[in-house]
């Protein structure tokens, strides 16, 4: 029940328990290996991202030329990321539960927060992989018509910060919603309000970087710092509380 680090306990003589770090590595490797074999998450998330872009195409078809896409780009990009990651996070525990994998992991005497860290890392990697495809696609479809600001590469920072926070919060919430009725709706209902402050800050920073106006750092640095703060607080809270959630 309590988070005792049984793995590192000094009065645990009978067998050399694997260190926390190697437990973490094993769990992470398990998720990645499963993904490399089935390519389930990456294909579904990638196709979903492409579909959202196509929907944007329809939504903006008549107005795209009249709109300042540079000002809207940041927001549209984050909508794409939020919905794609919602899909991925919902699935990330689905197969654990379907195949009874979660029970197996819970039988192992390991610190539960290691599960949280491993799962979050896996989700971060999947989301980053999707972003690596989706962001260039987004650029290709919507932003080639206009001159690119030299500050564009700076969007990497808000993307990374946002992804880490969303993966952490999402891992926690999808562990909760895995055991509820109407899982997918529940995940969205909890996820979107809880990431909102992070989303708001990241959209502001991304838009500032895309627009790249003269005082862009004014709208870039401060939101990024706030987003980092939110990440740290949320990840800490989730890390501490994960033990309760996963054993419930």
């Amino acid at each position: 029940m309590k988070t005792t680090k049984r793995g590192d306990s000094p009065n645990c003589h009978f067998a050399a328990k694997p260190s926390t770090f190697s437990q973490y590595k094993t769990l992470l490797a398990k998720d990645l290996r499963q993904e490399f074999r089935t390519r389930e998450m990456l294909t579904s998330m990638g196709i979903y991202a492409l579909l959202v872009i196509i929907v944007y195409g329809a939504a903006l078809a008549l107005t795209a030329n009249g709109l300042d896409i540079m000002k809207m780009g940041g927001g549209l990009l984050w909508v794409l990321i939020v919905f794609t990651s919602l899909l991925g996070l919902g699935r990330s525990f689905a197969h654990e539960k379907d195949q009874g994998c979660m029970e197996g992991i819970l039988l192992v005497p390991l610190d539960r927060s290691v599960i949280f860290l491993a799962k979050t890392t896996a989700n971060v990697l999947f989301m980053l992989a999707v972003e690596v495809i989706a962001v260039p696609l987004f650029y290709f479809f919507f932003m080639t018509g206009q001159p690119v600001a030299p500050t564009l590469p700076a969007i990497v920072a808000p993307l990374a910060v946002g992804t880490i926070g969303m993966a952490g919060i999402g891992t926690m919430l999808s562990t909760i919603t895995m055991n509820t009725r109407a899982k997918d709706v529940m995940l969205a209902v909890l996820f979107i309000p809880l990431i909102y402050p992070l989303l708001y800050a990241c959209v502001t920073a991304t838009t500032a970087a895309i627009a790249g106006t003269e005082f862009w750092t004014d709208y870039f640095v401060m939101p990024l710092v706030l987003a980092c703060g939110y990440d740290v607080v949320m990840l800490l809270v989730c890390w501490v509380l994960y033990d309760f959630v996963v054993s419930a």
Partner: protein, 254 residues
């Protein structure tokens, strides 16, 4: 800690004796504050006049705003909603520490009171927004974060409905009540963090006149007492419901 018997809250314990005086005092205080806000505290200044004018023996240089009177209930109610959320999270923590269902009931009831006061805040704030800013809604940071807080509280109840197992439901909602608390300081600080925000910040605008502070404090104290009374009433009802349910289950087992 494990040997000591944890005292669990129960309906009919000493706080219930305070309910009637508390609610009466709350009613008196809020009414007094209400009358004070309208009759004694001067109106605040709005847009500047084209030229000053002598009213009575005071030189008036600005429009006098009545709409600001909403503030006397808006802010106390918002503070009470934050306090209720703190209590919900506190009982959530107590539940996760000792796994006693009673604390889950407390947490749920506190969350319900929080929802009630969040709705009050939204309604009063929105009517003020409609009049002063001329719109029903604007994506202003304070409004937005508070809306998010309301959505989290609503999501808490949606989650409770979606879990069948009581133990599991209690764990999940305890965790969510703690996470929801993270949004409270954000809500509170946001107008200071984002200076472009148009939501009035009392401290930034040179503070309140002492009589304004007095009226706000009186109403806040009154609202706290009312909230306490509501909490105990709801808790009593929830407990009775649980006991009847337990009895029913017992009777079926025979």
């Amino acid at each position: 800690m494990s040997d000591k018997k944890v005292k669990v809250p129960e309906a009919g314990q000493w706080p219930d004796n305070l309910v009637v005086p508390a609610v009466l005092a709350g009613a008196v205080l809020t009414t007094a504050g209400f009358l004070m806000a309208f009759l004694m505290v001067g109106p605040v200044n709005g847009a500047a006049l084209s030229s000053p004018e002598l009213v009575g023996d005071v030189m008036v240089t600005n429009q006098q705003l009545l709409s600001q009177k909403i503030f006397y209930f808006h802010m106390p109610v918002a503070i009470v909603s934050f306090v209720a959320l703190v209590f919900a999270a506190y009982y959530g923590i107590r539940f996760l520490m000792g796994r006693q269902q009673r604390f889950d009931t407390c947490s749920r009831v506190a969350m319900e009171i929080a929802l009630l006061f969040v709705v009050f805040t939204m309604v009063t704030g929105d009517l003020w927004t409609r009049f002063e800013w001329g719109v029903w809604w604007t994506w202003e940071p304070r409004l937005t974060t508070y809306l998010i807080l309301m959505l989290i509280v609503i999501a808490y109840f949606v989650l409770r409905n979606a879990v069948d197992d009581p133990e599991r439901r209690a764990v999940f909602s305890g965790v969510i009540s703690i996470i929801a608390l993270v949004d409270v300081p954000i809500c509170f600080m946001i107008t200071r963090l984002i200076p472009s925000s148009v939501h009035p910040v009392v401290a930034r605008e040179g503070g309140m006149a002492p009589d304004m502070v007095a009226a706000v404090m009186i109403i806040m104290a009154g609202m706290m007492l009312v909230a306490f009374g509501l909490y105990r009433l709801r808790f009593r009802q929830a407990r009775l419901d649980e006991r009847v349910q337990a009895l029913k289950d017992q009777l079926e087992d025979y």
